[in-house]
């Protein structure tokens, strides 16, 4: 059981970290760009919100399988397939939770507007400097929201893991798939216990999200 909890938390943590790194430039581009592609890319990043997770999972399974051209690129490194590996779960989760990172960040970047950045530019700040010392502090609420949402969403991830995990203890077995297995095998008491714990966790996560938003909103002039 502890292994399952550990795998779940590890998956959520790694996914959160990577999505903040990958989602930030994407959200920045979506917020600031005037390109015609912008809304098309925006819609693409929101797709995982409406696709059934098992569909995402199935495509990821095919993409990570040994016959996939993507995996052919990794053959020189001795990797034949990433299905049924922790790395595979991370890749699946990146897709699955992408909108939960990009949306809050994009909103936060858009809310800054161009004035603070223009002012910083007139004071001689370069683009990198402007981003890290003006945009990031002003968008900190977006970063926190994105982190909490991605983490909580990945903790509850089910369909994708079910499709590409293979339930290997200590590697690819997570809480949601364990609950499913327990319910399927009619072990309701154990299923209730885990589900109850996850409900409490989700509630605390979302409550802290609201409190964070209020506090940050409160200290703003």
């Amino acid at each position: 059981m502890n292994l399952v909890i550990l795998t779940t938390i590890e998956l959520a943590a790694v996914t959160t970290l990577l999505l903040l790194l990958l989602g930030t430039p994407l959200a920045w581009w979506l917020a600031r760009s005037r390109s015609g592609w912008k809304e098309i890319v925006g819609a693409l990043t929101a797709l995982p919100l409406v696709l059934p997770p098992t569909v995402i999972g199935f495509y990821v399974l095919i993409a990570l399988g040994p016959q996939s051209p993507l995996m052919a690129l990794l053959h020189p490194f001795g990797i034949r397939t990433l299905a049924f590996t922790f790395s595979g779960l991370v890749i699946g989760s990146l897709f699955y939770s992408l909108p939960f990172a990009v949306q809050p960040l994009r909103t936060a970047f858009e809310a800054i507007g161009s004035r603070p950045l223009e002012i910083a530019a007139t004071m001689g700040a370069g683009p990198v400097d402007r981003f890290f010392h003006v945009a990031v502090p002003l968008a900190r609420r977006g970063f926190l929201s994105a982190a909490i949402l991605v983490f909580a969403h990945t903790i509850g991830e089910f369909g994708v893991v079910l499709m590409i995990g293979g339930a290997i203890p200590g590697k690819t077995e997570v809480l949601s798939t364990r609950i499913y297995q327990l319910v399927e095998s009619l072990q309701f008491a154990e299923a209730h216990a885990i589900a109850g714990g996850m409900v409490v966790f989700a509630f605390v996560a979302l409550l802290s999200l609201l409190l964070v938003e209020r506090r940050i909103a409160g200290v703003r002039p």
Binding site: L61, T81, Q181, E184
Partner: protein, 253 residues
């Protein structure tokens, strides 16, 4: 006066629509079917309607989920499970009509790979190795998974093979793992391979595992429904048995 005429028209129309039906009063029954029996169940329901005029409305899903729904008042009248355990439990929990339970199909497992020549006709590949991942259905939830584990144990290769096992939540998923090539090979149901050619396979001898019995039962909700009883009776008919066997299952008769 108007009502009277309408009433006649309605009766006349009803008579026209029920003409093809054999008995005068055709009924309907709600049937919960284990996902692995989807195709044969559709064919049996069509034959059942032709033979009796009754309509079987089928829902497909996981047996465990169905059991949970049934115990919470789902409107199913007949339950075609993927195992013997859940119908038995339904009977013990007073959700079903006693002595209505019977085995309608017996599953066979096959060690299958999309790679030609990987699986030999004796299953010696399990001893030899030379594969990375082997898929099975989760033995905690699927009888097909239990049979796969029993087979590996009987062959004495379970300790060696177990680190390479990946578990699908159902036999359908185990098949998906193998069909996409994500797993090199896996234990799937013979019924899944009925229309599949190519690859390499070994049909596991019956002696290597306990029989995979799929049982049906009449639920309390359907106790007084003639169509529900007729459907279960039809499931034992020669016509239904021929369909079931054509789909890669065995039967007791």
């Amino acid at each position: 006066m108007k009502h009277f005429a309408l009433h006649h028209v309605a009766l006349f129309l009803a008579a026209i629509f029920t003409l093809p039906a054999v008995p005068a009063r055709a009924g309907e029954t709600q049937v919960a079917v284990a996902a692995n029996f989807t195709e044969p169940a559709k064919e049996i329901a069509a034959a059942f309607q032709r033979a009796t005029g009754h309509k079987a409305v089928l829902s497909f899903g996981a047996s465990g989920a169905f059991y949970t729904q049934i115990s919470h008042g789902a409107p199913f009248e007949v339950f075609l499970s993927a195992d013997a355990e859940r119908p038995l439990k339904a009977e013990q929990d007073g959700l079903a009509v006693s002595r209505s339970r019977f085995t309608y199909a017996i599953g066979r497992i096959v060690l299958y790979s999309v790679t030609p020549g990987l699986v030999d006709a004796k299953g010696a590949v399990l001893r030899r190795g030379g594969f990375d991942k082997i898929a099975i259905a989760d033995p905690a939830t699927a009888p097909y998974g239990v049979a796969a584990v029993q087979t590996l144990q009987k062959l004495g290769v379970y300790p060696a093979v177990s680190p390479r096992i990946v578990k699908g939540s159902s036999i359908a998923q185990a098949y998906q793992f193998v069909a996409t090539g994500a797993a090199d090979m896996g234990f799937v149901a013979l019924s899944q391979l009925v229309n599949v050619s190519g690859g390499s396979r070994w049909v596991v001898p019956k002696a290597l595992h306990a029989p995979i019995e799929q049982q049906a039962i009449l639920l309390k909700t359907g106790a007084t429904n003639r169509a529900a009883r007729a459907f279960l009776a039809f499931l034992k008919s020669r016509q239904a048995i021929a369909i079931i066997q054509r789909y890669g299952y065995e039967t007791h008769r």
